[in-house]
């Protein structure tokens, strides 16, 4: 009986102490973590919408969408965060759209688990810069092994066709969802 009481006492006190320590560390860390998250989002938004000064969360069911405004609080476009399946796992892409939904301003890859050195080339500027000012009507197309000839085409990465294709599909999908929503309104 004495042994049982001892076991309970030791476990309880250890639990209480560790809970207390964790609570205080978490209290200290949470503001930093929130700040990091906010900074990361802001950085990404202003990266894909260079003209933006302010942004506002746009209420959307299954995607993150932001409306962005310039210095005079005038709407300049949208920022969409969409994700889909790549070669080995999900790819999360953020991209900016012009106000009239005709062109992409820029894109960035937020998360990916593609093959190092191949699929990961989608995070490099060589690939991402192709999307700058890209025409998205009727939709983005990709070509392989030759330079793009039309305004709405990008060149897929050699050896990483699937990752390139997935990125294009994720963007097209996000654009379509946004267009549909805006038409409904």
């Amino acid at each position: 009986m004495k042994q049982v009481i001892k076991i309970i006492a030791v476990l309880t006190s250890i639990g209480i102490i560790s809970g207390g320590v964790l609570a205080s560390v978490s209290n200290w860390a949470n503001p930093f973590i929130e700040k990091n998250k906010k900074e990361a989002t802001e950085k990404a938004i202003f990266l894909v919408q260079p003209e933006a000064k302010y942004y506002e969360r746009f209420d959307f069911s299954d995607m993150e969408v932001y409306k962005v405004y310039d210095y005079d609080k005038e709407l300049v476009g949208y920022v969409v965060v969409n994700q889909g399946n790549g070669f080995q796992g999900p790819i999360r892409v953020i991209f900016g759209l012009s106000k009239d939904l005709q062109r992409i301003t820029a894109i960035d890859v937020l998360e990916q688990v593609e093959t190092p050195g191949l699929g990961t080339l989608i995070t490099e500027d060589d690939f991402k810069n192709q999307f700058k000012n890209l025409l998205i009507v009727p939709m983005i197309e990709w070509v392989k092994g030759k330079p793009p000839s039309k305004d709405n085409e990008i060149k897929a990465i050699t050896g990483a066709t699937i990752s390139s294709k997935a990125t294009v599909q994720i963007i097209n999908d996000g654009i379509n969802k946004l267009k549909k929503r805006l038409n409904d309104e």
Binding site: K6, I7, I14, S18, A29, N30, I33, T115
Partner: protein, 225 residues
């Protein structure tokens, strides 16, 4: 009777004699998964060492209070407390590194190396010896991770710690930063270390033999005289 304690050996043994990676073969999940670059290896090694040292300290302090039946549960609570602290601090102060190491930081909780040291050493030895032991093991683990990470980063990406070492002429072998490369590198390094240990042992045996031989010849000579 006072037991003779060799403090420096308590620390040094973790570096090589019972190196967690090459000799105990513990904690293989982080060893194989995060060593795609030297910096990841260093960060993982530091995080593990931190958890190991502080858990050892606490476990060794309370080793006489904890009832034997619940010792594992207690160790796990202590270890996971420190792991959560590391995780939160990294997320707050080093978000980039925390993103790169992904789910492997929380997984330090189940790293056999840590529970192994608690069970085998810290729960039975004094605070000072436990601290030395855990620091040695942690640093041994970290060094192994850095070596593995450097080799893989060098062959798979031309760089070490982000600095380009091999010329552009060298085509990186992608396999080295894929999971297969981790197994290959670890296997070859382990083979190499075993070969070295065996050679050393052989030399020691030879030494003892030759010593014995000269001693016997000396003996016979004295007998003759």
């Amino acid at each position: 009777m006072k037991k003779e304690v060799n403090y420096s050996n308590e620390f040094l043994k973790g570096l090589w004699d019972i190196n967690p990676v090459f000799k105990q073969v513990l904690g293989m999940c982080p060893v194989l998964a995060v060593t795609v670059s030297a910096i990841n290896g260093l960060a993982m090694g530091l995080a593990t060492t931190f958890v190991l040292v502080f858990s050892s300290l606490i476990v060794s302090l309370i080793r006489k209070i904890v009832p034997n039946q619940v010792r594992i549960a207690t160790f796990i609570v202590i270890i996971s407390t420190f792991v959560t602290i590391v995780d939160l601090v990294m997320k707050a102060k080093f978000p980039e590194l925390s993103k790169a190491l992904g789910p492997f930081i929380p997984l330090i909780v189940v790293n056999c190396l840590i529970l192994g040291r608690m069970e085998a050493f810290a729960s039975k030895n004094s605070v000072i010896r436990s601290l030395l032991d855990s620091t040695g093991n942690g640093i041994g683990f970290m060094l192994a991770l850095i070596v593995l990470g450097s080799i893989r980063e060098l062959l798979g990406n031309r760089t070490i710690f982000g600095f380009q070492v091999l010329p552009e002429l060298y085509t990186p072998m992608l396999v080295m930063i894929l999971p297969a490369g981790a197994f290959l590198t670890l296997g070859l390094l382990m083979g190499l270390s075993n070969w070295y240990v065996k050679k050393k042992e052989q030399e020691e045996i030879e030494l003892i033999f030759s010593g014995y031989r000269s001693a016997t010849t000396l003996n016979t000579q004295t007998e003759l005289n």
